[in-house]
Structures are given as structure tokens and as C-alpha cells.
């Protein structure tokens, strides 16, 4: 059975005052095979990127290896002083992210609008 793989789309949006927001929209599966899609995409962002929005609304399957990649992305973003907001996780994965403690480093929002509004820097 082939995995669905991770599809990623990067957009720049101006949905809140201040600097533009870079949205990384994931779809499909986020698993151990998603390193290039998750970390490679992040590493390809322009150096001056400050505000990053993670869109999980079209993710169909996420496992612990995929969550580990999201943590690695957040570690890299933290080193650069970038701020991250997230939205689109199912209630189950909101619970899982909370259990793991990720919510200490990114807020999980119900939709893109509230996530955009949460950027303060």
C-alpha cells in the first residue's frame, strides 16, 4: 500500500496588519517519509520570513513521525526568531498536540482567520 505522500503549497498572504504571512498548506499524509515536504519546504522559505502559518486542514493522516517533523520545523523556526501559528487540525489531533506539549510553542486555531489575527509580531 503506497502512502499518499505529503503535498505542500506555500502562499504569502496579507491577512493581518504588518509583515506578510507565509502559509504552508499541507495535504495528504505527514509521516516519516515527509521530511523533504515538511523540513525541505521550510528550509526553502526566504531568509526574511518572520510569520509562518501552518495549515493542516487537508491532512488525512498524521502519525508520531510526522509530529516529530513538525517539532523539528518549530525548532528551526525558533532559532530564527520566527513566529508560528497553526490551524486546521481535527479535534483528535488538537488533543494529541496538546498531550505532546506542542501547544506551548504554537497556538492551534480553528480557522485561518483567527490564526492570522493572532500574529502580534
Amino acid at each position: 500500500m503506497a502512502e499518499l505522500g505529503t503535498q505542500v503549497k506555500v502562499e504569502e498572504v496579507q491577512c493581518a496588519p504588518g509583515n506578510p504571512i507565509t502559509v504552508i498548506r499541507f495535504s495528504g499524509d505527514i509521516t516519516s517519509t515527509s521530511q523533504a515536504a515538511v523540513l525541505g519546504t521550510y528550509q526553502g522559505l526566504p531568509e526574511d520570513t518572520q510569520r509562518i502559518l501552518l495549515d493542516f486542514s487537508k491532512v488525512e493522516y498524521l502519525n508520531s513521525s510526522g509530529i516529530a517533523l513538525v517539532i523539528q520545523l518549530m525548532i528551526a523556526a525558533g532559532k530564527k526568531g520566527q513566529s508560528i501559528q497553526s490551524f486546521g487540525l481535527t479535534p483528535h489531533f488538537q488533543k494529541v498536540f496538546t498531550m505532546v506539549g506542542i501547544t506551548k510553542y504554537t497556538t492551534l486555531h480553528p480557522n485561518e482567520k483567527t490564526a492570522c489575527a493572532a500574529f502580534t509580531t
Binding site: 500500500m1 502519525n63 508520531s64 525548532i75 483528535h92 505532546v100 506539549g101
Partner: protein, 145 residues
């Protein structure tokens, strides 16, 4: 569903096939009447147990089978995931997100913690030379027991 029914699956140790077990367990749990949030808990727990069995138990050797046995009774669903390894670590490390973010703890290693947190009962049994298994149980009315 008849009391004492069981279903067995034999999966190759190839990542992705855990979804077969995950979706089968979800179908059974729905038939038994589990609420949607419990079904989601079970899906993650079963997927993680199968991934551990494939990666650590069977070292991703596709010739080695991961056996999954789902056993149902009127009150509970038990899932056993068998592999050919020596068994899981005896201690489950609770993730420390601060340590992970400061790279003092690997970002991985979440699977067993999630399994234990998401089901009503979880244990890992080492039974050499035949292999080892993870056992998970979810109950329809956990407060009543």
C-alpha cells in the same frame, strides 16, 4: 456483534500498511458502538503500535509479518500487535516539549506515550523466542469497571 469474535490481520513490515490495521480497528470499533473520539484514539494507538512493530520489532524487514488480532466482547475491544523483536523498552518516556525544543531530547519517540495515553489499557509483552506484542484495550464504559 457476537461475543468473543476476533479478526486477524497479517501485515508486511512496510510503512503505510499500518493503515490497514488502523482502518480495520476503526470499522470494528464503530460497529461496536464506540463514540467517534474513541475511534480516533484507537486509530492513532493501533497505527503507532504497528509502526513500532514494523520499525523496531521487525527492523522493516518486509518478509517479517506484523500480526494484528482484534478481539471483541460486549464491553471492550482488545488489539494485539505482534512482531518478531525482543520487545519494547520497559519504561515509557513522557515527552518533554521544552527539552525537545532545546534539542536535549529527540523529537521522535512519541509512539508509546501516545498509545498509553489514548487507550484504557496498554502493555508490552516480550515473549522470546517467538516475538513480542503490544496489547491495547478500549472499553465502551470505562468508568463502570
Amino acid at each position: 456483534m457476537k461475543t468473543g469474535s476476533s479478526i486477524e490481520l497479517r501485515l508486511p513490515s512496510k510503512l503505510g500498511y499500518e493503515k490497514v490495521a488502523m482502518n480495520t480497528a476503526a470499522s470494528v470499533a464503530k460497529l461496536m458502538g464506540f463514540a467517534e473520539d474513541r475511534v480516533e484514539d484507537l486509530k492513532t494507538a493501533v497505527a503507532e503500535a504497528c509502526i513500532n512493530a514494523m520499525e523496531h520489532g521487525n527492523q522493516l524487514n518486509e518478509a517479517l509479518i506484523v500480526g494484528v488480532v482484534l478481539s471483541m466482547d460486549e464491553e471492550s475491544l482488545e488489539v494485539k500487535v505482534h512482531d518478531h523483536g525482543a520487545g519494547a523498552p520497559t519504561q515509557i518516556v513522557k515527552p518533554d516539549i521544552d527539552k525537545k525544543m532545546h534539542e536535549e531530547q529527540t523529537p521522535r519517540g512519541l509512539g508509546m506515550f501516545l498509545i498509553q495515553a489514548l487507550v484504557d489499557e496498554a502493555e508490552w509483552v516480550s515473549s522470546p523466542p517467538t516475538g513480542s506484542y503490544a496489547r491495547m484495550v478500549i472499553r465502551l464504559h470505562p468508568a463502570a469497571e
